[in-house]
Symmetry: D2
Subunit: 487 residues, 4 copies
């Protein structure tokens, strides 16, 4: 499972090396998307953009940052290419990398020119009505270069902008048209605008630069830490924050509810050192592990976590159960996006190459293994087998979230029920399939408590099938490529 | 002076290696644009695109052509980035190459997705109402990713396509909205459509593949030669040619006149082995040289041409005058787009690095030097000095076109009268400035006869200031970047 | 501190995809060197080589591995460029990357052609007499292309090879000339030879491919795991292992002692899942933590480790002391070799970008922080400060090795006493300098017990100044570049 | 047929941008080798090197030249990879480009470190005893990284250098060991040394920088022109020129004869604007054409040359015969080294893509076509057919050199008699094979007169089989890879 994106924006009161700060912040957000990255610097109204497929650390070197130059504002984006992989697209772009056909066109920030001024847009989320809006704009004569939501959002804003009194007013007027999840940054010639959908599905927070030098907005607070900015607060569900020469202003027209943050941000997506809606991500994982220990106790010799997101839950489980915590795997940190998968016929095993169990620690032990989720079940089965191969006496799998039963429409790349093992097998059948001695999932009640004390409610649609907004019957990934009937 | 573009399209009755054929054809058209190139292959309705900054031979290797794969149709494009160099743009894209800020975004073919099906567009020319159309589309909510005319043309076609009975009908309905020069290729899921503006400013011709395997359309006939296709005919000014399963059809609604081809195609832009509107380009240059010899005779020992476009005129001059032809320069063929210009303080001389006079041939001689045009005069002055440095006794400059007095609005990169030496000095003053003993331009009467026997008239607006279509007062290159007044 | 290299060799009885296996094995050894990597495949006597600056996963894609093709043998190498950084070299190679001037020339494996057949050499270690040997060979007319030890070793072998009865005999005869550390692989047209210096400073182990398909040799057993090879045994100090059509043979002429393995392999260099000389690396680190807890107990609320090598020791400390283990930092996994360091004037902090403390876990706590070593002290001081900034009440630093007091001559990049904080300050002064409340190093006695039960003794020269072989007075890094007196 | 190399050296009295001057000079010498290029700058004894596969203009951008920096000396090299293409090599290096296996290793200048100081070597030519010397050095324990002659020359110089009183003395002592062709540059820490073999097979000339700022040495005088250096004189056969702080000194120990320059330098290799041994290359080609017209007169309507080297001869033929000269072909200037050859099954024709005949000029005419040589005959046959396809009534082929009957051992890539059409067929059979109406070669007597007035004699071994130095029975291209018998 993958998160779609991470976003960052900076507004400095004086001209400064905003590209470099954005570079560090994007490095800190890289876990939210590793396929492409981009930075747009705004220097006195001129928007300079560089975006590419690849990691922040690979794409932006000194020369690239120098070319982007200084300015008062910048926005940056990291992306995981959800849904771009589909080869059914009617248009495919061939890049030198071995990437999905629309990967390059869908890189963000999107930069558009318009009679009212240029605009850069970066967002994280997923619209449920993107396809319907696209149809509507195309029937009015609009043309699309990408398959991503950001071009749809651009049209929605531009549509209003022609008549709106200001760019922030255009955003405000456009928001009711957009249904679903979006944490959004819009940079115009003179303003940096941040907005969060009324449900607040994805996180977005506001910080201040040292010495009151300006403001930053980021998907997660860990990006603020990386540039020594101070966390001010989360942006509220539905809120529009406008940063300009006049300082910070808020538009709260669409702030109608408490919000339903994606609970998977705590389970998996966010970095443990981030604090979201008042709750430490690491602490929420410790809590998940503690609740798991109470819900599914078992006698064992050691508790281990599947790196990286299982580690904190494993420590929680260990603390609650009194069973010692151990490091059970070495994760290979040098294997990246372009890693060559072993072919069918080879004896090599891609799971083992990435995640080697430590024999000394496992051998002869009754092992409790904590992971964050089971999607298709194949990786989990492989990991259990690796533990048995190095001599685990028993393997007890504990999952720090409930069974995954429904697609996500709000920015995670689970498009349909196909392939979700929990849709097809009972828990005991899954246990047998993955080869565990016992298997326990965190309960729905349990997951609802992991971020207790936080300021918002949660979207748990992937577990319950109940979504905070109306969703289409079938997730319409590439419908728009199938529908044309050319004459 | 630079031409903007070259275009090529192929329709094969059977699935074939159309990408490879397009590669060869674009190599043959490379002289029309060296900044970027692109190929879009259409395989059963799926459009696969690759476009990049660089030469065809560098961008497309075996791997790239394999990725594009086979299909029944393809369009290709080579481009010289007219006007992209302006640094006043409000949006700038940083590429790894040292290119103009919009160069990558403006690469062609442009590929757009639309509810009525995907579409690839490649064109050569220049619209005089691009800016006005852009304003209009933006005020309707349209957004632009590029600064080029092709996105404007895309909007014009899409605007009609929503209601048109077919893609070719959309092109037909869009043409009256487009004012200026365009030789255009539109590839939809099932059709290849070629169109030429009613004035026929830029060339476009139709050919047939060997063994009646299909059809091709190209800016110049030399591209047909490169793939052994047979020349059928020029596409008429205003004509729309539709190639599909049904074969070739013509729409002649807009064929209202004989056409006014840019005369500079004969003087400079086109390759000598091309035949345009029934006239051999090489022959027209020979003719220009012959007329020059009659209009501006002079006693001399040798006639030399400035490579490459001056060579054929020099031979014509030699044949007419009886003065021996010689090769006066070695042109360095290995210096490309990325050549490092000598800095001010250095003793090296960029003209000499590119064009070394051959002392043995020049020394002690009275030399007639033929060039195609004088724009700013600096290069010409430098060349004359080089000839004197190696011992030319006299240097008589003959120009195979009349003085350049007016901007071109139709696809050549002369934007204004600023810098045109002929706007500021008399011919004798120019002669003095470039250091020649005598200077003679081809007369207006002369230039009108170089392609005698051709099927069309000529646009000679750059010489006369009289243009076949109404032109704006001032060429509005980047107006659209200046006009916004953001709130 | 950095290790110099990792090596891997494979001998398959049948022609197989040995390049791909080497790729996976090098990925598993990547922690031993991240600057360059190389693979040489031997297909029926033809040696095909690819080596580059960069990570294995970046340099070797499908195309590269296909070009290397199949074969029966391969050797691979990963390298950290020890000493190449010196800008005093008299020869410097400019690569497109921002690398030390000799980095490319020093990539391994080194491939040389010779009248007795081609040869590929890969090694890990450091010779103490490299400079003397180099002088000797140059005075005989030899020429050097690199500054690395591998070219010296090549000369030493070639010198013998001219008269030796076999390649293994040449290696055997050359070994007495080489003083210092070397774990060595030599691949000739028909044989794969592995050798380890008589002190066995660096690890080297032998494994068997699944289904008895052949043999492999690797720096660490984790590389064997990655390709599902079975660990057979460590290669003995002084042993030469010859793998050929005849199977495996051993030459033990130089096996004169038990060996003195670099103890830092356990402390820091090796991967926790490797087993060296019979001891699990992870277990040795747990043990170090346990001993530390006994040697330097302190009351505290939490034990945290500095990732990655401090984690296992922290768990050992926690288990021994009963103080809970916690995850105190998030290490950014996406920051690589080319990371842009914040400039002096910037507010960003490179330590914090790489290693963010988790406020929730640290705040208000008395923290025990375990790290593997203190070299210059600056990073440690910075980390302690970060902990205090997020609210640590007390910070107790525990180091899982004794104070670093002497240079290493055997493959780690500590060239001199300059900059070693322990050479200049007392432990209490260091404590004050790094800002810790207490500071405790593992004792010499303690370090000698971390791998108790192992089959060898240890080199602890960096702590004691007593080395198993005679070392030069001053480490002569680049002497050879300074000594020439040209006429 | 291809020339192997071009070389350039510069010695500036003051520290200057010698890398940039070398860049321009190498651009001017690019016709002598297009596969790889390299520049070594010497800044106060530190040699900085960059060499790569590719064209000068592509490899050296501003960043690369900046990295090389300023200095007082530099040497540069362009190379065509003669013989590297052989796939029989026992060692093969895989580069990202599709290049011969040893191409990268054989790039020049070769830079070696040695106890007597670093040294950079660049040469043009071919040794006849390279293989024997290589054997000798390997049997003494030497190791080779490349297959080129430059490493052999390095060994020969180093062998002497250990005992020589100076670097120039080492060169002087080494020369008698080297048999064959070499125009050589050696740059040490403090001196730039140029040497030419006693036969003077390959050209080498000396020039002075403007304002007496220093000296340059180049393969051809056109390189001097490109940086506005003044031609002083050719370096004599056997001469060693030493440029140092003391100015220019000559060592003439080996100046024993008048020299035998490769006559093909005039026919094909050199640039027309170069002057070699007192003779203009262009003039020699004009002369060849004039002699051809006298030796093989024929009635015709037009004389055309095959670009580029046939053009000057065609003009000579035209002037002598009175038959008008015309431009018969357009050569595609944008097709480079990496051009994709049409596959067998395709209808495209690689000759036609590169060289399109101009129908208008050829149609209905009796054509005399001048080319410089016929090697295998296939290209010539294809060109004749192209002329007939566009309507030539008669095609009379005239070759500006005698039939090619013997291999070249001195730096041109004709390795054996295999494939030389003149070894297998009579002139009339060749005429029939290439489809010409008549065929005439320049006579041996004729070729001996093309550079009449020059200061040297010629090597015409490729025509006569009589070589100025003893040559091996069979050209031993890759013998060294076949001979080993490994134990």
């Amino acid at each position: 499972m993958h998160e779609e994106c991470g976003i960052f924006g900076i507004y400095s009161k004086e001209r400064a090396s905003v590209a470099v700060s954005t570079y560090y912040a994007l490095c800190a957000l890289q876990h939210r998307g590793q396929e492409s990255c981009g930075i747009v610097v705004n220097d006195r109204g001129v928007l300079k953009c560089k975006k590419e497929l690849g990691l922040v650390n690979d794409i932006f070197d000194n020369e690239a940052l120098n070319k982007l130059g200084d300015g008062k504002m910048a926005v940056g984006h990291v992306r995981y290419a959800v849904g771009d992989g589909a080869t059914s697209h009617s248009i495919q772009f061939m890049t030198s990398q071995n990437s999905p056909p629309m990967a390059f066109q869908n890189t963000q920030p999107m930069v558009v020119r318009h009679i009212k001024g240029p605009m850069a847009i970066a967002h994280n989320g997923g619209l449920v009505n993107a396809s319907a809006l696209r149809d509507e704009y195309e029937l009015k004569g609009g043309i699309f270069h990408s398959t991503g939501d950001s071009e749809v959002i651009s049209y929605a804003i531009t549509e209003q902008r022609v008549n709106a009194v200001s760019i922030e007013n255009a955003v405000e007027l456009a928001m009711p048209r957009l249904s679903g999840a979006y944490s959004l940054l819009v940079m115009s010639a003179k303003k940096l605008i941040a907005a969060r959908d009324p449900n607040g599905f994805r996180p977005l927070c506001l910080g201040e630069l040292p010495n009151s030098a300006g403001y930053v907005v980021a998907s997660e607070s860990c990006a603020l830490d990386s540039i020594c900015a101070e966390f001010i607060r989360d942006i509220e569900p539905g809120e529009i924050v406008v940063i300009s020469e006049k300082g910070i202003e808020s538009i709260r027209t669409h702030c109608t509810k408490k919000g339903e943050l994606c609970v998977f941000e705590f389970v998996y997506f966010a970095r443990p050192d981030s604090i979201i809606e008042g709750v430490s991500v690491q602490h929420s994982r410790n809590t998940a592990g503690r609740i798991l220990a109470r819900e599914h106790p078992v006698e064992a010799d050691i508790v281990i976590g599947v790196p990286d997101s299982g580690l904190d839950s494993a420590i929680g489980f260990s603390l609650e159960s009194g069973i010692p915590y151990g490091i059970g795997f070495v994760k290979n940190r040098y294997i990246g996006r372009t890693f060559i998968q072993p072919s069918q016929g080879m004896r090599e095993d891609s799971v083992k190459i990435k995640l080697n169990p430590i024999k000394e620690t496992i051998k002869g032990k009754r092992v409790i293994m904590i992971d964050d989720s089971i999607v298709r079940g194949t990786t989990c089965a492989r990991i259990v087998r690796l533990l048995r191969e190095v001599g685990a006496k028993e393997v007890h799998v504990r999952i720090s979230s409930p069974p995954f039963l429904n697609p996500c429409y709000f920015g995670a790349d689970v498009n349909s029920r196909d392939g979700l093992i929990a849709c097809q097998l009972t828990t005991d059948e899954i246990r047998a399939r993955i080869g565990a001695d016992t298997l326990g999932y965190l309960s729905l009640d349990g997951i609802s408590k992991v971020a207790k004390g936080g300021r918002c409610d949660f979207c748990m649609g992937c577990f319950t099938g109940k979504y905070p907004v109306e969703v289409p019957d079938e997730k319409p990934t590439n419908k728009f490529d199938m529908r044309f009937s050319e004459v």
